[in-house]
């Protein structure tokens, strides 16, 4: 990368918009998947859509690869820099552009932090539903790139259900304005296609999100069980009874221990093997009726105890252990491999038991916390990254868990994305033809393949598409 290019970028974005001193580049070496780190040559921090467009136009002229980045909380390496490329961060695009209470939508810049939008809505009796566990730091733009989830996605659905419009800067610096808040697009659904594309189709600079009415009443039930199976079976029964809590979360024994020994201690008895959190939302009568039915199901699985809370302070206490789980695990292991897989909700018990077995066979410690209502497992494998032999066992166990989930009719990732982490596993889930179609979509948006190269779709699958196109036999998707 030439000095002249950096100078030109500084002229476009101002001195605050370009980082090139090695010490200040350090935090951008990786996202939350710290196993993979690549030092970036340059980090750009444009202030708005037009600065982003100007920068991308210039980078296109010089053929420089671009890695978009939100807050860098992603767990799959989606924001890992690429050699010879620049990182374009949305961190300085933090303005809320419009809050329409009447029609229940907000238009925000991509760098607005998830929890800030949530806070802003609260004053108006509204709610921005997606609530990833990293919501204190993660950005709306990053949520769009990853189609992020969170505990409440069980009821409200993942980010894609809440995105009404986008402003996208394309690979060559063009601006695609799809920001009008429409529920059903006419013609191709470019917004829906873009959400979850992990920065490979362009950079979203503005996001129009749907806001939901805040519920009138909320109740949290916390059940403690003697076995993990009982907790899983309770969830399967709640789903089969077609009850619709807003969240269904399970914590296993090792997680409980970690939580109880940490500042997040929630008073969970140490003889319980599993905690199930159920949150109910709605009108007063609705919540009362749901609570009655959920309790009846929980009782069938002989819980040690069921705690209930209606008021915000007590609810927060019951949630404390879950929200603090990842922080607490720092106490039981130096490093944590946070896996992410999905299974049909009828097979929860079976697959959770398999992950436990796989880790036992590999002599690894497993702490499981997961979005049970969605069938979204998060087996957290404890390890020490200074021990390369252990790292190898962790990655093998992670691969085996994913293979088992796919074989059972599940999927590779429920909310963390593919990034770099799951490239190899994509072939467990997709055929060569499936991946070729994905490559064609990518090529339609970014023919030079400069946007977040090497992520999401295995590159050899794309090589085949390219050679087929050269031979003139490939059809456009």
């Amino acid at each position: 990368m030439t000095k002249a290019l950096a100078r030109e970028l500084r002229r476009l974005l101002g001195p605050q918009g370009v980082i090139d001193e090695p010490t200040r580049l350090l935090p951008y070496e990786s996202d939350a998947l710290a196993l993979l780190a690549v030092p970036p040559e340059l980090v750009l921090l444009p202030r708005d859509t037009s600065q982003t467009a100007a920068a991308l136009r210039l980078l296109a002229r010089h053929g420089v690869p671009v890695v978009p980045r939100g807050a860098g909380t992603g767990l799959a390496g989606g924001a890992t820099p690429v050699a010879g490329g620049v990182v374009v961060s949305t961190a300085r695009m933090r303005d809320v552009l419009e809050l329409n209470v009447e029609d229940r939508f907000a238009r925000v810049q991509a760098g607005v932090v998830n929890v800030d939008l949530t806070g802003l809505c609260q004053h108006h009796g509204l709610l921005y539903a997606p609530d990833p566990s990293s919501q204190m730091a993660c950005t709306i733009g990053g949520n769009v790139a990853n189609n992020s989830g969170g505990p409440h996605c069980f009821k409200y659905g993942a980010t894609t259900r809440h995105v009404l419009g986008l402003v996208i800067v394309t690979h060559d610096g063009d601006v695609l304005d799809l920001s009008e808040p429409v529920l059903d697009p006419l013609g191709y659904d470019l917004v829906g296609t873009f959400v979850g594309s992990e920065g490979t189709l362009g950079i979203a600079t503005e996001v129009t999100v749907r806001l939901s009415p805040a519920p009138a009443a909320i109740e949290v039930l916390l059940a403690l069980f003697r076995s993990l199976d009982d907790a899983c079976d309770s969830v399967t029964d709640i789903i089969a009874a077609r009850l619709e809590p807003s969240a269904l979360e399970i914590l296993d024994r090792l997680t409980i221990e970690a939580v109880e020994r940490s500042v997040f201690a929630a008073g969970y008895p140490l003889d319980s093997e599993a905690v199930l959190l159920v949150e109910l939302e709605g009108t007063e009568i609705d919540v009362a009726a749901q609570a009655r039915d959920v309790l009846a199901i929980l009782e069938r699985h002989r819980p040690i105890e069921v705690r209930r809370a209606r008021d915000p302070v007590k609810r927060k206490q019951l949630w404390a252990g879950r929200k603090g789980a990842f922080g607490a695990m720092g106490r039981i292991a130096p490093d944590l491999y946070v896996a992410d897989a999905v299974v049909p909700r009828t097979k929860l018990r079976e697959l959770v038991a398999r992950t436990v077995e796989i880790c036992r066979e590999a002599n690894l410690r497993l702490a499981t916390v997961f979005h049970a209502g969605d069938g979204n497992l998060h087996p957290n494998i404890c390890y020490d990254r200074r021990n390369p032999e252990e790292v190898k066992r962790v990655l093998e166990a992670g691969h085996r868990i994913l293979a088992e989930c796919v074989a059972a009719g599940g999927a590779l990732t429920g909310e963390h994305g593919v990034g770099l982490e799951k490239l190899a596993e994509m072939e467990l889930y997709f055929s060569a033809d499936d991946l070729a179609a994905a490559c064609r979509l990518r090529d339609a948006w970014d023919p030079d393949r400069r946007m977040n190269p090497g992520k999401v779709v295995p590159s050899h699958a794309c090589l085949e598409v390219r050679s087929a196109r050269r031979a003139g036999t490939g059809a456009a998707p």
Binding site: D103, D189, P213, T236, A437
Partner: protein, 373 residues
């Protein structure tokens, strides 16, 4: 152009005879052969053949929306889903259903009705196939509660123009594995692929249904009340305003648990003095009537141009489609006419007619957040 006879002969090499018919000429299309594959392999085979012979193909459900887009300039062959139907998996305990494209929405709803509600709740479920509804991207009466049709889709398997079979998404309710190609296919009107098999998420079957109907002398009054209802604590399935004779009918569709619907009805009746309450089978009739409002009032309306304005650095007169505009909406959208078949009689709007000439308006409420209709 390949002659119908030549095309039919070519088809016989790829498909059994029972799968090949002719569609007689009408005011939309000339006479064309129709191929109706009954397996994924046959779909693949017939598309490979069409690719080899450079035939232009038109994927077809029951054809009720043929007039929505301009008739293709060249057409050699229609591909029908008539023989590719049926539910392949209904996972009641998981709340998902997987079915082939030719399955009617009525058949799908029936398959799940003991335990679940199937969205979209569209106007003419017997006359609509799953593939057709998804390809057209038509949402239903229940969009306010459950969201647009594309939100119901968990995964789709399609056949591309080169005959390859491709899947996106899956059968689980939460999934970010790879691109959401299924969202692009949904609403793509058969221009990208043929939809073969789809998995939808389901919703609990409501224990109780009710419809409250009130009449207003003018449209403004009805719409104002509708907006207030959408914003109330009660979360209705739909709020529909339709002109009927000299009056405007406002229908509030409610469903859910017994005690909740009972409570909501009490609450809402106070806000709608003089309203009529429909319950039980009567409510289902009233609800179906609301759903068909969009068909009744189709006359005289046009589709608006797509929302995606392209604001380019260069200039607004740069009309060369480039990526991603190359994969963007049909540019003819603003001039397309709307045509719908309704029980025997067809209504058609001429491409030049003005939307303001419309004498009726149906509104699935949701404020500004709705498809122009």
């Amino acid at each position: 152009v390949s002659s119908p006879d030549r095309t039919a002969t070519l088809l016989e090499s790829a498909l059994p005879r029972a799968a090949i018919t002719r569609r007689p000429a009408d005011d939309l299309l000339g006479e064309i052969p129709v191929a109706a594959p009954d397996s994924a392999e046959q779909w693949s085979e017939v598309l490979r053949l069409a690719g080899r012979e450079r035939l232009c193909v038109l994927p077809l459900g029951l054809g009720s929306k043929l007039g929505w887009l301009r008739t293709p300039e060249r057409l050699d062959l229609a591909l029908s889903s008539a023989r590719f139907h049926g539910v392949s998996a209904f996972e009641a305990a998981d709340g998902t259903i997987t079915a082939r494209a030719g399955t009617t929405l009525a058949a799908l709803s029936e398959a799940v009705s003991a335990t679940h509600h199937l969205s979209p709740e569209i106007a003419l479920p017997r006359a609509s196939t799953l593939g057709g509804v998804l390809a057209a991207g038509t949402s239903g009466l229940d969009r306010l509660r459950h969201g647009p049709v594309r939100h119901q889709v968990l995964g789709i398997t399609v056949a591309l123009a080169d005959g390859s079979l491709v899947k996106s998404g899956g059968r689980v309710v939460k999934n970010v594995t790879g691109y959401d190609l299924h969202r692009l296919w949904c609403g793509s009107s058969g221009t990208l692929c043929v939809l073969l098999e789809t998995t939808l998420r389901l919703y609990p079957r409501p224990a109780r249904e009710a419809v409250l109907e009130a009449r207003f002398a003018d449209r403004a009054g009805a719409l104002e009340r509708a907006r207030a209802l959408v914003r109330s604590a009660v979360q209705p399935v739909a709020v529909v305003v339709e002109e009927q004779g000299s009056e405007w009918r406002l229908s509030l569709v409610l469903s859910g648990r017994d005690e909740i619907v009972a409570h909501d009805v009490d609450e809402m009746r106070r806000g709608l003095p003089g309203s009529v309450l429909h319950e039980g089978a009567d409510a289902q009739r009233a609800r179906a009537d609301c759903a068909t409002g969009s068909v009744r009032t189709a006359r005289g309306r046009r589709w608006r141009s797509p929302a995606g304005r392209r604001v380019s650095r260069a200039s607004s007169n740069d009309s060369t489609p480039r990526s991603p505009a190359a994969v963007s909406a049909p540019r003819s959208a603003s001039s397309r006419s709307l045509r719908m078949s309704t029980s025997g009689s067809k209504v058609r709007a001429s491409a030049g007619s003005s939307s303001t000439a419309s004498s009726t308006a149906t509104r699935s409420a949701g404020g500004a957040l709705r498809r122009p209709s």
